[in-house]
């Protein structure tokens, strides 16, 4: 555990640069600003919406802004270039020749990515949720924060794996994968979407959201929604998300060990 402590400590220090801190504040502020703008412009009661429906709309909006945008971007900025960063500054070999150096490096960077993104999400939720009218702010905050944490964990592992498989094009591949699989594929009403993180997070939201049993039944009877949300209980979704996280993390560790990330190029053989 000395290795993990060392990696965490040094990586944490490296996140405290002006650029990284600015990004953290930007990610934190973005959902708060959008909430303020929507609250100022939209008048839900004028269009005949009741309080429970209004709360559902707000929860969906917070879901899109915090676990989807804030967390995904947060872990993307930290986890995707985890290996590429070490390779570019040629520090990889110093760590790769230490006992379990690669393993602890990846685990340490993963934890930093999760802490960095989920802390931004939690602060953002804490600032944005009190801005709206709600009968139960605490429950909404807890729902959004729990999903944010799971989202950060799963996406950080995914981007870390993409970074280990394609270190030179980690950012491009991560964006492409997110757009194609996590956005498009997860909304395709077919079995394949069940293997996406987004499908599980969305299903968890539907399980935890404040919605009447009739409303939930209606939702699930709709042919489209039937396939874009899972009916299983929340514990099943959590197991799925933790399983995907474990799978991606294992994949990234194996890929990093199998690949030859030497700084020796053909020119300095």
């Amino acid at each position: 555990m000395n290795q993990l402590r060392a990696i965490f400590f040094y990586e944490w220090k490296r996140t405290l640069t002006f650029g990284r801190i600015s990004w953290w504040f930007l990610l934190t502020a973005f959902p708060v600003l959008i909430t303020l703008l929507v609250r100022a412009e939209a008048n839900f009661r004028d269009v005949g919406m009741e309080q429970p429906q209004i709360e559902t709309v707000w929860t969906l909006m917070f879901y899109m802004l915090i676990p989807c945008v804030c967390c995904c971007l947060g872990v993307f900025l930290n986890a995707a270039p985890a290996i590429a960063g070490e390779l570019e500054q040629r520090s990889w070999v110093y760590l790769a020749t230490r006992p379990w150096g690669i393993f602890w490096l990846l685990v340490g960077k993963y934890i930093i990515a999760v802490v960095w993104a989920s802390s931004a999400a939690i602060v953002s939720a804490s600032l944005a949720i009190p801005l709206i009218e709600s009968q139960d702010h605490t429950k909404m905050w807890f729902t959004i924060c729990s999903i944010s944490l799971l989202s950060s964990m799963a996406y950080a592992a995914l981007y870390l794996m993409i970074g280990a498989l394609f270190p030179k094009r980690a950012m491009v591949f991560s964006v492409t994968y997110t757009a194609l699989v996590e956005v498009v594929l997860s909304l395709i009403p077919a079995i394949i979407n069940r293997f996406t993180i987004q499908y599980r997070l969305r299903s968890l939201l539907i399980q935890w959201i404040e919605i009447s049993p009739e409303g939930r039944r209606e939702l699930m009877e709709n042919l489209f929604f039937k396939y874009v949300f899972a009916e299983e209980v929340s514990s099943v979704q959590i197991v799925w998300l933790l399983g995907l996280t474990g799978l991606f993390l294992t994949g990234s560790i194996i890929a990093a060990h199998v690949s030859e990330f030497t700084a020796a190029s053909e020119s300095d053989v």
């Binding site: 500054q89 070999v93 760590l95 602890w104 053989v269």
Partner: protein, 314 residues
């Protein structure tokens, strides 16, 4: 055996890194000598497990080095490039890597401070690495490699960038390391750097292990290999005739310098005799010699010749 290579070939696509190397080295200190691009870094990356051979097998301390966590406890590696975290101090960098080696923070700090003292960095160790000179960075790189007292120390061009005093200090430090009975492999393209440390050499060029042996054997090899000498004179053809008549050269040919002047290129095994004879000829015949130099003052000419011997061309 400390290191065993069994018909090891490593390719980077179509480019050869090392080519069919076979060797077995018992524990000790060895100099890996070769010109730039000879395959030294590939050799070192193979023994540190950063690369796997395309063909053949590599064993270090009896183990396959690839992802071998047990082996990583027993080796220390100093790469030729820098790559340290520039924002932290030299001391913290060494502490960090010692913690990565598994040491507790307090123990790591103590070891790191001792090690920084050994490499003469105590005064500057708390300054950020970004403020260090090239020589200071070299010392920190060496400190991180020796800080956990490995059995086998692997150094890639560790003296480059050091001033003469630093070079001498590092050489003494490495001599002490060898005297303590620990093993060392040091790669360099400068013969005297290695000669100051060890009498055992591995000569590598074009990815091939061309020769191995002691300093005497390498010097013997140097004496037996024709050396190419470039001479710029006012009467180069007349001088060529005199050299060949005295049987002091295997061959002599005319060439041109970059500026278009005539150039006499002599290939000789009798460099000492030739150097003694030329002043007499100059005095007696009035030939003026403007410039006389070996084709390359590094080891490149030796390696070129060894390569030709290896191919059966000499």
């Amino acid at each position: 055996m400390m290191i065993e290579f069994d018909h090891v070939t490593r390719l980077y696509g179509r480019v050869l890194g090392v080519n069919d190397i076979c060797l077995a080295l018992p524990p000790g200190a060895y100099g890996l000598l070769g010109p730039n691009g000879a395959g030294k870094s590939t050799f070192l990356h193979l023994i540190t497990g950063q690369l796997k051979p395309t063909r053949g097998t590599v064993k270090v301390l009896g183990m396959n080095p690839r992802n071998n966590q047990q082996l990583f406890r027993r080796i220390g590696f100093c790469p030729s490039f820098e790559g340290m975290y520039a924002g932290i101090s030299g001391l913290n960098w060494v502490v960090f890597l010692l913690e990565m080696q598994g040491l507790r923070p307090a123990q790591a700090r103590k070891c790191a401070e001792e090690c920084m003292e050994r490499v003469g960095m105590t005064d500057a160790m708390t300054r950020p690495i970004s403020s260090y000179s090239r020589g200071m960075r070299q010392r920190v790189k060496l400190a991180q490699a020796i800080s956990h007292e490995p059995e086998l120390l692997i150094l890639d061009e560790p003296l480059s960038g050091l001033d003469p005093i630093g070079r001498s200090q590092m050489t003494n430090l490495l001599r002490d390391w060898i005297k303590s009975g620990k093993s060392l492999i040091i790669a360099s393209h400068v013969l005297y750097e290695i000669e100051a440390l060890t009498q055992s050499f591995l000569l590598i060029s074009g990815g091939r292990l061309l020769a191995s042996g002691t300093a005497e054997e390498v010097h013997e090899l140097l004496n037996n290999v024709p050396m190419e000498i470039h001479i710029r004179a006012n009467e180069p053809r007349q001088l060529a005739g005199m050299i060949l008549a005295a049987s002091l050269a295997e061959s002599a040919k005319m060439g041109r310098t970059d500026s278009g002047d005539e150039l006499l290129v002599v290939s000789t095994r009798s460099t000492t005799q030739l150097a003694s004879a030329i002043p007499d000829w100059v005095r007696d015949s009035g030939i003026q010699i403007y410039e006389m130099k070996t084709a390359d003052d590094s080891l490149q000419s030796l390696f070129n010749s060894l390569m030709k011997i290896h191919r059966g061309e000499l």
